[in-house]
């Protein structure tokens, strides 16, 4: 296991800086999508109280920006590829060869920034003068929020991988699946878990609204793993990589 970790670190070290930049840029793209969806929500005054409206459009904007991000990354790659081809033996080509690295990192960027936006104010309140659960309010608000946020980070990461893979291999149904499942999962929270529900055991069934989330997370996770999100770092891929394919076709190191 440590050996594997060492191999991964070793394989990533040449591209780690670029991956950080990809991470940051994807976070920024998520931010812009959030800005647009908030603007949209803000602009349509009559529906401002209807969260569902803002929610649906927010998901659409997010996935649209994922698409834009993908297109931009692809454009940047075309430029970089030529350089890397010259460097065929060089390690930098790991990025081009392992598209799923970029997919993974950008999905992770989406997830982290969205998780930060969801959770950071809750965390800040946690230190504050107030105490949760004093008036019979649910005491597990924080832990619920934290777990759900983690789920969403994971989901975003996996959505990124599936989404990019779908675009890469022109299996657009995967893109649609990502969009739909994102919509579904986000809307599940709607009316789902109000704080006051948790206070009364009789309403704990509301938890089951979130029931599907966890198995879904796991299944998407497995799926994304099949798409070789992590396995791409392994040296076996590097071994049979042999540089960029001559026709410039993307190498996709999966069994999928």
């Amino acid at each position: 296991m440590t050996n594997n970790a060492h191999v991964i670190v070793h394989a990533l070290s040449p591209v780690i800086h670029e991956l950080m930049l990809v991470f940051l840029k994807s976070a920024f793209f998520w931010l812009v999508s959030l800005l647009l969806s908030s603007l949209w929500w803000f602009a349509v005054v009559p529906l401002r109280e209807q969260l569902a409206f803002g929610l649906v459009f927010s998901v659409i904007f997010q996935e649209a920006f994922r698409l834009v991000f993908y297109v931009l990354i692809r454009k940047a790659e075309i430029g970089l590829k030529r350089v890397w081809r010259e460097e065929a033996g060089g390690s930098t080509s790991a990025l081009v060869n392992n598209k799923s690295l970029i997919a993974y990192v950008s999905g992770f960027g989406f997830g982290v920034i969205s998780g930060a936006f969801s959770l950071v104010n809750v965390l800040a309140d946690m230190t504050g003068p107030g105490t949760i659960g004093l008036h019979g309010n649910p005491q597990n608000f924080f832990i619920t929020s934290a777990v759900l946020t983690l789920c969403f980070i994971l989901l975003h990461t996996c959505w990124g991988v599936v989404f990019f893979n779908g675009l890469e291999k022109k299996r657009y149904y995967q893109v649609v699946i990502v969009l739909l499942s994102h919509m579904l999962i986000s809307c599940l929270g709607r009316n789902g878990l109000h704080c006051e529900h948790l206070a009364r055991p009789a309403e704990w069934w509301k938890w089951f609204n979130f029931g599907p989330l966890f198995p879904y997370t796991v299944s998407v996770r497995v799926r994304a793993n099949q798409l070789a999100s992590v396995a791409c770092c392994y040296p076996s891929d590097f071994g049979r990589r042999g540089g960029i394919l001559a026709d410039g076709e993307a190498f996709w190191p999966t069994i999928y």
Binding site: H17, L31, S37, L51, V83, E87, G90, N121
Partner: protein
């Protein structure tokens, strides 16, 4: 008031903002000798293919015929010069990621220091008094009057900045180095002693830690003196960088504390516009500063600029001529990191190197990475001179590949960022965090970093000194106001409903 005035003066200088990557190609237009005297002057390219050979295109170092020969030989049979140039620039972008991150780290650190301080120590968000530069109060009844006052404050601040910058440029132009150094030393003295003393006191008070005066004096004395030595004379690179980050953070905190709210936002906008003007206008003061420094082969004052990172010492060895030339020059690249302070190529040395007959160093194909790795010091150039001589003696005749010497030289490469950038970035983020909404802080944080990386991309494209404030500050301001007014309510609605997007 005196202290504030001084401090202001320092600030004013600090907003001398630019990111400068120097290009050998550009340098050749302006200066005659390529290797630089100081430590802060970077070389943009890592002597790979063309730049060293194209450098002497102005004929000062080589005659034209030799120049073209070199280009042909080094690019071999396949790639034309233009193509090589393209590849080179792309390659720079590839290697640029590391530099971007290396520049991000200090910026992130500075912003983190300010944000942590703002959100944990109440002193810096408490209003008590204003600077004399902002005489008009914002607490007025009517909005019209408030706007007028804010604009008045902003113009006074900007005026001070402009005047101080101009004074600095004039002093520099007429070589009053002593005055400038005195000025800078006074300013950093203030920051290092007075403001850090205040800071220490507030931190101790905040966490209710008692400390006796003897200890405080001891700490402050050591901190300040080491800082002065590191910034103005020499010291370990990381220590110097740490001090620069610290004084920027202190400066930013002072701004956050003493500038009224709206004045601060307007000042940020005005400063970034001024930055644009000062760096890009043909007669802009900062541009004059940079160009004069380049002409004189001097580093810009270390107290004003965070000189990015490390010296990149590149050892390029031309591989066998039989190789396909497309890959050759990149493959043979063998880079080592050396702390900035350690490789100082003085002008004399560089002239020696430059004037040595170029065709004589052919056949120098020994891979010298290993034994040079342990000793890259001031005598580097001279030593290599010796090696070259010995090689020449052995080989006896000029060989076919002649590009080794230039690319063998220690190349400094890095990005420089004015301290003013650090100050205003952290002012923006710190001010954003002082309202207690962390989403705003994160948004500004990401926006500023993205703006910075965008500026660096522009830098790679335009290859001249660029203002680092406008893009970042614009992004930061846009995201500050939009997050505060639009995103925050939306996110609040989401989080109340426990909806995750």
């Amino acid at each position: 008031m005196d202290t504030q005035a001084q401090n202001q003066g320092f600030e004013v200088q600090e907003d001398d903002i630019e990111v400068a990557i120097r290009q050998p190609g550009q340098d050749s237009g302006r200066t005659t000798a390529d290797p630089e005297s100081g430590e802060v002057v970077p070389h943009h390219r890592q002597g790979q293919t063309s730049p060293p050979h194209r450098l002497p295109a102005d004929g000062t170092l080589l005659d034209q015929g030799e120049h073209t020969t070199q280009v042909d030989q080094s690019h071999g049979q396949s790639s034309s010069e233009d193509e090589a140039d393209d590849d080179d620039s792309e390659n720079e972008i590839v290697h640029g990621a590391k530099h971007v991150i290396m520049l991000f780290i200090p910026v992130i650190l500075c912003m983190l220091v300010v944000v942590t301080t703002i959100s944990s120590i109440g002193f810096y968000t408490k209003r008590d008094g204003y600077l004399i530069y902002t005489p008009f109060s914002e607490n007025t009844d009517s909005n019209a009057k408030r706007i007028r006052n804010v604009l008045g404050n902003t113009f006074i601040m900007l005026g001070v900045v402009v005047v101080m910058t101009t004074v600095l440029i004039l002093l520099y132009k007429y070589k009053c180095y002593k005055v400038i150094h005195g000025w800078l030393i006074m300013a950093s003295l203030l920051l290092l002693f007075l403001f850090s003393y205040v800071y220490l006191g507030e931190v101790l008070r905040n966490y209710n830690v008692p400390m006796d005066y003897i200890t405080v004096i001891l700490i402050m004395w050591n901190f300040g003196i080491v800082g002065l030595i590191c910034i103005h004379w020499k010291g370990p690179l990381h220590l110097q960088q740490a001090y620069l980050i610290m004084i920027s953070a202190l400066m930013g905190l002072i701004f956050i504390k003493y500038l009224p709210d709206w004045t601060l936002w307007f000042v940020l906008a005005a400063i970034s516009i001024w930055d644009l003007v000062a760096v890009l206008c043909p007669k802009g003061p900062l541009r004059i500063l940079v160009e004069t420094a380049q002409e004189r082969n001097e580093p810009i004052f270390p107290a004003l600029i965070y000189s990015s990172t490390m010296v990149w010492v590149v050892t390029t060895v031309e591989p066998d001529a039989g190789n396909d030339s497309g890959t050759s020059n990149i493959k043979a690249n063998n880079m080592e990191l050396v702390p900035l302070g350690e490789t100082t190529v003085t002008p004399e040395e560089s002239t020696v190197t430059e004037s040595s007959p170029r065709q004589d160093n052919g056949g120098f194909t020994e891979r010298n990475g290993d034994h040079e790795a342990r000793q890259r010091r001031r005598d580097e150039v001279a030593r290599r001179e010796v090696q070259q001589r010995s090689c020449r003696d052995e080989q006896g005749e000029p060989a076919t590949r002649v590009s080794v010497q230039q690319s063998d030289e220690p190349k400094e490469r890095g990005v420089k960022l004015g301290l003013g950038d650090f100050v205003f970035y952290s002012v923006l983020v710190g001010k954003a965090s002082s309202y207690g909404d962390w989403n705003t802080t994160i948004a500004c944080f990401v926006a500023i970093l993205i703006g910075l990386s965008f500026t660096l991309i522009l830098l790679a494209i335009f290859r001249k000194a660029l203002p680092a404030l406008p893009v970042s500050i614009t992004f930061g301001l846009v995201f500050y106001f939009s997050t505060r007014e639009i995103i925050a309510p939306f996110m609040e609605l989401c989080s109340v409903n426990q909806v995750y997007i």
